[in-house]
């Protein structure tokens, strides 16, 4: 073949593959991601991917090649964790766990969605429940409980303020609180930078 083939055939090549993401997978005991052959069985059975732009195999491929855009991409948040990909993977890769890991890394880097942040920050942190029944707006649910001869608030953290404090302590101790605060900070910084850039562009 001629030596100057590059002159005629232009190919986009990636200089090198970054291991940054896949190393985090290995650290978490998820080295199996490297067994992925990108066959697409995961995508084929995905009920979310059928209706949205989310493609499981693309996310896994990007994670493997170190393409960090996958962390910014909202697509990974469209997985409903139904486990079809996990069940059907011919290479026996726990695919859903991989997507969860990608989300964990994304949150570490501040890519957390507002709806999820609110749920963690306001609801889960303050009440210990993901779907609470306390507060003004939830009176109808307490009334409904009473009509069933059940206490207005269940005997969970809802009935024990000290247990809510326990959960808060745990959230601080395991680093969950810091993780949330850090994600928020990174997110705000990023928003500011973007604003500046937009201003520049306007000028």
């Amino acid at each position: 073949m001629s030596d100057n083939v590059e002159k005629y055939i232009k190919r986009e090549t990636k200089e090198s593959i970054s291991n940054k993401i896949s190393e985090k997978f290995v650290d978490a005991g998820l080295e199996k991601i490297r067994a992925c052959i990108n066959c697409g069985t995961c995508t084929g059975g995905c009920p979310s991917g059928r209706r949205t732009a989310y493609r499981t195999r693309v996310a896994i491929r990007k994670a493997l090649t170190g393409d960090e855009s996958v962390l910014r991409d909202i697509d990974i948040w469209l997985c409903s964790t139904c486990y079809y990909c996990y069940e059907r993977c011919p290479r026996n890769i726990p695919v859903t766990d991989m997507i969860i890991k990608l989300r964990n890394i994304a949150v570490e880097e501040g890519f957390i969605l507002d709806a999820h942040f609110g749920l963690a920050d306001k609801i889960f942190y303050e009440t210990g429940h993901g779907v609470p029944a306390n507060g003004e707006g939830n009176k109808k649910w307490r009334d409904l409980r009473e009509s069933y001869d059940l206490p207005p608030l269940p005997p969970t953290v809802h009935s024990y303020p000290e247990a809510v404090e326990e959960c808060k302590t745990l959230m601080k101790e395991v680093g969950f609180r810091d993780l949330m605060d850090n994600a928020k900070e990174l997110k705000e910084e990023r928003a500011k930078e973007q604003e500046k850039e937009e201003e520049k562009a306007d000028e």
């Binding site: 009920p47 964990n104 069933y148 005997p155």
Partner: protein, 302 residues
């Protein structure tokens, strides 16, 4: 030793705080079957496997372990009626039992709260598994006072069966546990297209992108509507919520006209065991408020 015929009832969030009728029905069923049901005081959110596990898996495990520790103190296996709670607690409990290093790590954190520790002494059970396998269609027969003659769309949800390697309950592609159990109640499951796919609520999708969640759900409803069941039978309050609010949403936004009652396995079993229709609580739900078991379906004495 774990107490026999006794369960620590893990309430979770959606059931006690949105569908107390399921809570009441579950207690009714289990107590009539001879089980002792204990309240898990101070239990918190499981935490939800979709949203909270997505932030940090290790933190999620520690919070789940706190709930497991409460049940261990009571020397009782955990009973849950929710796929999400089951998904979280069953998986974390299994890991804690099998992995000593993890158990030590988790206990290190729990120690900070005082009297909390996990030893891996209990099992986490889902009510569908207890009814389907422990009691079984063979055992429920002489416990019920009436059968109802209905054709229903059974929705298994995802986290009850999957991942099969961890759950070890039934096949994820062709399960029969619920079908066989409800047959003893006179109820026939009618298969429909894509029966086992997700309702679209899980994984934080409903919280983040209601639209995406509804597109997945609308396809589910089209498939259900094709077979015109008497009602939709689920085993998870989050799927329950999705079927309820989802039908309402499609009616209002996509000119659909759905009104399928949504009934949890606990509610159905409670009715067959003698709980009054009024207590089943459909009048408090969004869909199928006027549905009467006796009316649309012919009641048979047993």
């Amino acid at each position: 030793m774990v107490k026999e015929e006794t369960f620590a009832f893990f309430l979770g969030c959606i059931m006690p705080n949105r569908y107390p009728q399921i809570e009441k029905a579950t207690k009714f069923v289990m107590e009539r079957l001879g089980y002792k049901i204990l309240e898990m005081e101070k239990a918190a959110c499981c935490p939800a496997p979709g949203v909270f596990r997505s932030f940090n898996k290790a933190d999620w495990m520690v919070h789940a372990a706190r709930n497991i520790a409460i049940a261990e103190k009571m020397d009782a296996d955990i009973l849950t009626v929710c796929n999400g709670c089951f998904g979280t607690l069953q998986e974390v409990n299994k890991r804690i039992k099998e992995d000593e290093t993890l158990r030590l790590k988790v206990n290190e954190k729990l120690k900070l709260l005082g009297d909390y520790k996990v030893n891996g002494t209990i099992t986490v059970r889902h009510i569908a598994e207890v009814l389907g396998y422990d009691i079984g269609p063979w055992g429920i027969e002489d416990k019920i006072i009436r059968k109802i003659n209905a054709r229903v769309a059974v929705h298994y949800g995802c986290h009850f069966l999957k991942p099969t390697k961890i759950r070890e309950i039934d096949s994820s592609e062709k399960p029969t546990i619920i079908e066989e159990f409800i047959e003893a109640l006179g109820v026939k499951s009618i298969p429909f297209k894509e029966q086992l796919t997700c309702c679209g609520a899980g994984g934080g999708v409903k919280a983040y992108d209601g639209n995406a969640s509804m597109t997945i759900f609308s396809e589910k409803m089209v498939n259900i509507d094709e077979v015109k069941p008497d009602f939709i039978l689920d085993i998870c309050p989050f799927c329950h919520l999705q079927f309820e609010t989802g039908q309402d949403y499609l009616n209002q936004n996509q000119s659909c006209n759905y009104d399928y009652p949504v009934i949890h396995l606990s509610q159905l079993t409670a009715y067959c065991m003698g709980m009054d229709q009024e207590f089943i609580g459909l009048q408090y739900q969004k869909m199928g408020r006027d549905f009467l078991f006796g009316e649309k379906s012919t009641e048979e004495g047993v």
